[in-house]
Structures are given as structure tokens and as C-alpha cells.
């Protein structure tokens, strides 16, 4: 499966890019993908973030559909 991954705010600062394409041979849950991303970017281990899949915030157990848009969202600061 091929996913688009978006990084925002302090997460984008840590990854050094706002967007990447992510390819995986296996089906992934949100938790699986988080583990894989943390392997690639160990600096994210001590950053707080939530994961949105197709603009919905979901928890680790959720299976990610093919071609999903996934976003790593640091704490919100609107207002």
C-alpha cells in the first residue's frame, strides 16, 4: 500500500519535510505505522502527536485503508 504522510508544526520541523510518500508491503494499523515512522525518525519519540487518517483522528488499533492521507498532528494551538 502507498500512503501520503503529512507532517505539521514541530513534527515537520523534526522530520525536516512536510510531506512524504510511504510504501508498505503489509497492511498497517495506525499503531504499526507509528512504530515504522518512529524507527525512521527516532527524534519523534519524545514529541506529542495524534494521527489523523483521511482527516479523522484515530487510535492505534484502526486499520489504515489503501491510499489514505495520514497526518501527524502536534498539539493544537488555535485561538
Amino acid at each position: 500500500m502507498t500512503l501520503s504522510i503529512l507532517y505539521f508544526g514541530m513534527i515537520a520541523e523534526a522530520t525536516g519535510q512536510p510531506l512524504e510518500t510511504w510504501t508498505s508491503l503489509d497492511a498497517l494499523t495506525v499503531g504499526d505505522l507509528k512504530n515504522d515512522i518512529l524507527k525512521k525518525y527516532p527524534v519523534l519519540r519524545d514529541r506529542k502527536f495524534q494521527v489523523a487518517v483521511n482527516q479523522q483522528i484515530l487510535d492505534d488499533a484502526f486499520p489504515i485503508p489503501p491510499s489514505a492521507e495520514v497526518a501527524l498532528l502536534p498539539p493544537f494551538a488555535g485561538g
Binding site: G9, Q55, G78
Partner: protein, 147 residues
Amino acid sequence: MSHTPKKVFVEGPISPQFVADSIAKHQSKTSIGAHNIFLGQIRADEKEGGQVTGIEYTAYPEMAESVFHQIREAAFGKFELTCMHIYHSLGVVPTGEISLFVFVSSPHRRATFEALEFIVEEIKAKVPIFGKELIGEKGEFAWKENR
């Protein structure tokens, strides 16, 4: 009840004149008895490294617009509102300037108090907007987090 999604994001600060123009546009709606307005203004907090000079806002715009729309629909469902407007800045907003403008109107005051607080709390908690506090004169910054 469904309302057309409206444009929320504006580039840079929201001016007092913009607020006045919004108020004036509601004077022809003579079923309105009460308006309630919330304005978020950037504070010059003291941080390690100096004073906050502004906040640079970014967002996940598609998701943010969708969450703003859900908040609008929920507020119209819960409270007896005639009108509701939400504006939020993107980009740099210097200290002392306004980054959030929420405006609700109703025949009666009670609905405006309850709705305004609900909407502001929902925005702070649920909308993917990110803020970089710009500190001092040397380019330092810190990431803001709502509580």
C-alpha cells in the same frame, strides 16, 4: 439543519475595523437582540530568550475547515442562533493583534453566552492549527500548546 461551509482562515491579523464591519452587517437583521464576540489577542509573554513578539500560525487546512464546519453545525443544533461567524489567522500575528474572532447572534442573550463559550473551547481543543511563538530578536521560537 445544514449550513454552507464558510471561509474561516484569513492571512495575518484580524483588524478592529473588520470586526466593526461584521457588526454593522447585522443591523438589518432585526430579530437579533444579542451579539456576543470573542477575540483572541497575542500576549507579549516573557520566555527564556526574551519576550514573545508574535505567533506564526499554520494549519492542516482541509481538515481544519472540515472541523470548523462540524463545530458550526453542532452549535446551530444546540443553541438558538441567528448567525455565527468564525475567523482565524494564518501566518504571523504580532503581539497585541487579534488572531481569532468568533461572533454569535441570537434573539436572546442566554443562547449567545452558551454558544460562544462552546465554540471557543471546541476550536481550542479540536482544530488542527499550530502556533510558533516568536521570541526576542534573535530568531528563537517555541511551539505553543493549548490547555
